[in-house]
Every structure is written in C-alpha cells, then in structure tokens.
C-alpha cells in the first residue's frame, strides 16, 4: 500500500497515469505520517508537511518486520529488494518462536 500526503483526487489521477494497482492512501493532514515518525516538515509545496520516503513490511500479527529508511530520495528500496526481505523473513518466521 502506498501512503502520501496528497488528497485522493491527486492520487487517483496518478494511479490512472502510472497503471499502479495497489491501494494508495491519502494522509492529507500527515497525521499517520507523523505517528510513524516519518514527517518531513514543510518540504511540500507551500510548506506543506509530507512524508520522507520509507518502506515497511508488516507481518500478519501487525508487527514491523523490516523497515527501509533511505537517506537519499533518489535511492529507495526496489520491489525486488522488498520481496527478498519478505522471502527471508517469512521463511525464518516459520521456525522462530513467535507468539500467536
């Protein structure tokens, strides 16, 4: 799922342009972005608060299992990197003593 501080209209237009099919959520007042500690204050147009790029993997118990915080917005996790992390974690998860 994608999350940005753009309103749904902007996101809708972007999805139709790019053909991306995963859900894309709008955090217009950046409240969730702030809750995740990913706020980039005043970096948007007109000094609006936006998110710094980040990719997070959450397992079915709702636990964060992997997080990628880039220091350069040109260099973000690629889909194959996320899949690799998921493969490794989901395999390891079967033997680890996880509650629930």
């Amino acid at each position: 799922m994608g999350i940005s501080a753009d309103p749904p209209e902007v996101t809708r237009e972007h999805l139709s342009k790019t053909g991306w099919t995963y859900p894309f959520l709008s955090d217009a007042d950046a409240a969730v972005i702030r809750r995740y500690g990913l706020l980039h204050k005043g970096a948007g147009v007109d000094g609006k608060d936006i998110a710094r790029p980040a990719e997070i993997l959450i397992d079915p118990s709702g636990t964060v299992r992997w997080i990628n915080l880039t220091g350069d917005f040109r260099v973000r996790a690629r889909p194959e990197e996320v899949l690799k992390a998921f493969d490794k974690l989901s395999r390891g998860g079967m033997t680890s003593p996880e509650p629930g």
């Binding site: 799922m1 994608g2 999350i3 940005s4 501080a5 753009d6 749904p8 902007v10 996101t11 809708r12 237009e13 972007h14 999805l15 342009k17 859900p23 894309f24 959520l25 709008s26 955090d27 969730v32 972005i33 809750r35 995740y36 500690g37 990913l38 706020l39 980039h40 204050k41 970096a43 948007g44 147009v45 936006i50 998110a51 710094r52 790029p53 980040a54 990719e55 997070i56 993997l57 959450i58 397992d59 079915p60 118990s61 709702g62 636990t63 964060v64 299992r65 992997w66 997080i67 915080l69 880039t70 220091g71 350069d72 917005f73 040109r74 260099v75 996320v82 998921f86 989901s90 629930g100």
Partner: protein, 144 residues
C-alpha cells in the same frame, strides 16, 4: 585567410545537456545507473572535454578557429548544467530529516484508518490477522 567554424563548444554543451536530461528519462529506470549516476558522469566528462578542446583551440589558434566569445559562454553553460546535476543528485536529494521515531523492527505497527484513492476507508487492523498476507507500507513524498 577565413577562419573556420568551431563546433566543439556547442557539441560539448549539447552532450552535457543530454547527460542531464537522460538521467531522468533513461538512467533512473535502471538500478545500476540510478543509485550512482556514473553513466551521466561519463557523458559530462565527454561534454566538458569537447567544450574545453573547442575553447582551447579558439584561443590558441585564433587565426584558424572562431569561438572566442561563444566558446566560453557555451563552456560556462556546460559547467552550470553539470554543477546543477551534481547539486541535485548529491545535495538536494539527500536533504531528508532523520527518522529516530520511526517504528523499529519487532514493534507493533501503529494502527490507522485512511481513505484510498476512491475515498473508501482502509484500516490497518482489518488487513492484518491470522492467515492474512503481509502488508507492505510505502511512504511517498507525493506531488506527482
């Protein structure tokens, strides 16, 4: 004796321009040329070498080559294009705040409910649960 046209400064500038634009339209698509833009650096090096050679011959052999006015102008523009690219890729794109309060591995992901692109509410607590797939959350800067 008539002096010859000196195309090298213009060629150098055009190569620098291609080096700039090609990053965004071509090289950023491939991880191997995106993370470290070496392909663009090579183009810039070639462009600056061409411009430098053109300017140099305009001044060293003014009886043969023209370009003592236009050469330095195009050379300056080439340097400006390269400088702007380096600033954007080495400085501007790294102006990100740290994220000391981001969730750590092993912590519960904070719950949320947000509207999707159709305005339908999506809640994280409804997506997770026994037997459900993992969730990938991707935070974007937005402004497409």
């Amino acid at each position: 004796m008539a002096t010859r046209r000196n195309f090298l400064p213009l060629a150098g500038f055009l190569v620098c321009l291609v080096g700039f634009v090609s990053y965004f339209f071509l090289f950023t698509l491939f991880p191997v040329t995106r993370d470290v833009p070496w392909a663009n650096w090579l183009l810039f090096a070639a462009g600056l070498a061409l411009a430098g050679a053109g300017i140099s011959r305009a001044f060293r052999r003014p009886e043969i080559y023209r370009g003592r006015v236009l050469g330095p102008i195009l050379g300056g523009l080439s340097v400006a294009v390269v400088g702007f690219f380096l600033f954007m890729t080495l400085v501007a794109s790294r102006q990100l705040p740290g994220a000391p309060d981001a969730p750590k591995v092993g912590e519960k992901a904070p719950d949320f409910t947000l509207p999707d692109s159709q305005g339908r509410p999506v809640a994280l607590h409804e997506l997770v649960g026994p037997g459900k797939p993992w969730v990938v959350l991707i935070f974007y800067r937005g402004y497409w």
